[in-house]
């Protein structure tokens, strides 16, 4: 195998990531108290997406890998979003 370089993430960064996730969790609970109608679901999903991105980038090291992996993961997520979009061609117009 080639010489793999392991990037070590500092404790400080980990703590910041943890705090960010806790704040976002609190925010997703708090937002349920605000009356936004159907936008409530959208807001909850948006916060969940931000949290997932943080986990992918720092905890799962995507930020420190080569760009190739970022492209691969993004492509898969875009494909998934397209599938959802096409499904809603049915649900939005039924």
């Amino acid at each position: 195998m080639s010489q793999e370089k392991h990037h070590i993430v500092s404790y400080k960064t980990h703590v910041f990531v943890l705090l960010a996730l806790l704040v976002l969790t609190a925010l997703s609970v708090a937002i349920t108290r605000v009356e936004l109608g159907p936008l409530n679901t959208a807001a909850a999903l948006l916060i969940a997406c931000i949290k997932a991105t943080i986990v992918l980038a720092w905890f799962m090291h995507l930020k420190f890998e080569s760009r190739f992996f970022t492209v691969m993961v993004s492509a898969v997520i875009i494909l998934f979003l397209l599938v959802i979009l096409v499904t809603f061609f049915d649900y939005s117009y039924r």
Binding site: L82, V86, T87, F89, D90, Y91, R94
Partner: protein, 537 residues
């Protein structure tokens, strides 16, 4: 002899590892043995599936109750579908020939995760056993069809749970195979083998592997939801509880249509290997074939709605899916034109694998063009759920994947077993099979247009003529299958021994290693300098 030398000098069939006999096979992490394990498992279950199909066709030879009643017929087509789809064609070519030849064709000693590879076969067998229990336990065998459509799949008293759960377990096997292949192709290509120097069969396995990884989890979750619906009544799909049965169809086909491309892409890869070798000519438009492979894999994700044209989707969804379905015909046609152009002005060598490859193109074209009839909205309304659909998907799935499988086994047989099959019997088997196949499925197109519905054990007297021809064709086709299997099984044990490395004059790497290959395939990993189909020297 040192361990390293031993692995280089002894064929994988004779290699003595930690275990002997049968255990030496079912605990082997050698990709070639695992490929053969899949092959033997499939051979056994294909026989079961084929016999079920034959019995159904015999039931349909005349109106009325000929052999079986409606409930038995329902159970038969359900099991026939589950076996043929989940056990045979989805793992089919990748699991057998992908496992066996992918590492050899890209110049690797094994796949990236040999133990994961063995686990995938174990899961596959476990899944099959769970499905089989559904036949004998509970309140009778499942009768939903292989699609397990809601709401019937959780209303029927029949034993649907094990069948669904078995399919779920087999899904894991498929995902693991996909992961293994993607990593193998990314990480283990021989030095000098750039992406565009890779043979086309590995390319199609790569496209397939991505579909396996990304689409299979969808059906896994969907099947679990069916289980939850049956046991807990959660009301996701149950209209009585405010659920949406069409959502089930969406989720099911989001996997099961890409699954069709899991079935057919490796088949196309095999044909792309066979045709240049027997035409003695470089493949025409290598890059176009590669790009069309990836295009089919990508566009194939977005056409699932064409299975649901009469389900009650919105108008906008209908024409969107119809348009996308027509799009997928373009890369498929590109491949066919490339194969035909490869044969043009080639020195055709008429051997058994080539017969299979050419007949693949013939039946695949019939299947593809009737697919356009089903892809257009107006005609689909008339022929949906008739025998026209049955004929179409048998032409694609059996005529595509099945013929490609036969082409592959006849092409690689000497390399796999170090023995040669009897060419005369092989050609005779092909001829009888081909005639039987078309006699069996062609009349179904006409029956479907006349309006004969699918999944019925009985029919009106008006449909009798076509059904007689079709049922006789089934018997002819089975005779062909028996000849082919008997010839191959006999030859694998007693056939003419051969150590010739390259019986067909192929250019890819598997024809440069020993026959049968040694445990580690290569004594030295080759350095690749030329393209894979370099017939111009």
């Amino acid at each position: 002899m040192s361990e390293a030398n031993y692995a280089h000098n002894v064929s994988y069939l004779d290699y003595k590892g930690q275990y002997k006999g049968l255990l030496g096979w079912i605990f082997s992490t050698d990709h070639k043995r695992i490929g053969l394990l899949y092959l033997y498992t499939m051979l056994a279950f294909f026989s079961v599936g084929a016999i079920l199909g034959l019995l159904m066709k015999t039931e349909l030879i005349a109106p009325g109750n000929t052999l079986m009643g409606p409930q038995t017929y329902n159970a038969f087509f359900t099991l026939h579908g589950i076996i043929m789809i989940f056990v045979i064609v989805v793992p089919g070519l990748p699991a057998v020939f992908g496992n066996f030849f992918l590492p050899i064709m890209i110049g690797a000693k094994d796949v990236a995760f040999p133990r994961l590879n063995l686990l995938s076969w174990w899961l596959y067998v476990l899944g099959i056993l769970i499905v089989l229990t559904s036949q004998f336990l509970g309140d009778g065998p499942p009768d939903t069809g292989w699609t397990f459509y809601a709401p019937y799949s959780f209303r029927t008293p029949a034993n649907v749970l094990p069948a669904v759960f078995g399919a779920f377990v087999m899904g894991f096997s498929s995902i693991l195979t996909g992961i293994n292949f993607v990593v193998t192709i990314h990480r283990m290509r021989a030095p000098g083998m750039t992406w565009f120097k890779m043979p086309l069969f590995p390319w199609t396995l790569y496209g397939t592997a991505w579909i396996q990884i990304l689409a299979t989890p969808v059906i896994g979750i969907t099947l679990l939801l069916i289980v939850a619906e049956r046991i807990l009544g959660i009301g996701i799909f149950d209209p009585a509880l405010g659920g949406d049965p069409i959502l089930y169809q969406h989720l099911f086909w989001i996997y099961s249509h890409p699954a069709v491309y899991i079935m057919i892409l490796p088949g196309m890869g095999v044909i792309s290997e066979v045709i240049p070798v027997f035409s003695r000519k470089t493949i025409f438009g290598y890059k176009a074939i590669v790009l069309s492979t990836m295009a089919i894999a990508f566009v194939g994700y977005f056409v699932w709605g064409h299975h649901m044209f009469t389900s009650g989707m919105s108008g906008r969804a209908l024409y969107t899916f119809s348009f996308l379905t027509f799009l997928v015909a373009i890369p498929s046609a590109i491949k066919v034109f490339n194969w035909v152009s490869t044969m043009h002005k080639g020195s055709l060598d008429m051997q058994t694998p080539f017969y299979w490859a050419v007949s693949f193109i013939f039946v695949f074209m019939i299947g593809g063009l009737t697919g356009l009839v089903l892809g257009s909205l107006a005609t689909n309304v008339h022929v949906h759920d008739t025998h026209f659909v049955v004929a179409h998907f048998h032409y694609i799935v059996f005529g595509g994947t099945g013929f490609a499988f036969m082409a592959a086994i006849h092409y690689w047989f000497p390399k796999m077993f170090g023995r040669m099959y009897d060419l005369g019997w092989a050609n005779l088997g092909w001829g009888i099979f081909f005639i039987g196949f078309n006699t069996l499925y062609l009349p179904m197109f006409f029956l479907g247009i006349q309006g004969m519905p699918r999944r019925y054990y009985d029919y009106l007297p008006d449909f009798h003529g076509g059904n007689i021809i079709s049922s006789l064709g089934a018997w002819v086709m089975i005779s062909g299958i028996v000849i082919i299997f008997a010839n191959l099984i006999r030859s694998a044990r007693y056939g003419q021994k051969t150590t010739e490395k390259n019986p067909w004059g192929g250019k890819t790497l598997e024809w440069q290693v020993d026959t049968p290959p040694t445990l580690e395939n290569f004594e030295e990993i080759p350095v690749i300098e030329k393209g894979p189909y370099d017939f111009e020297d």
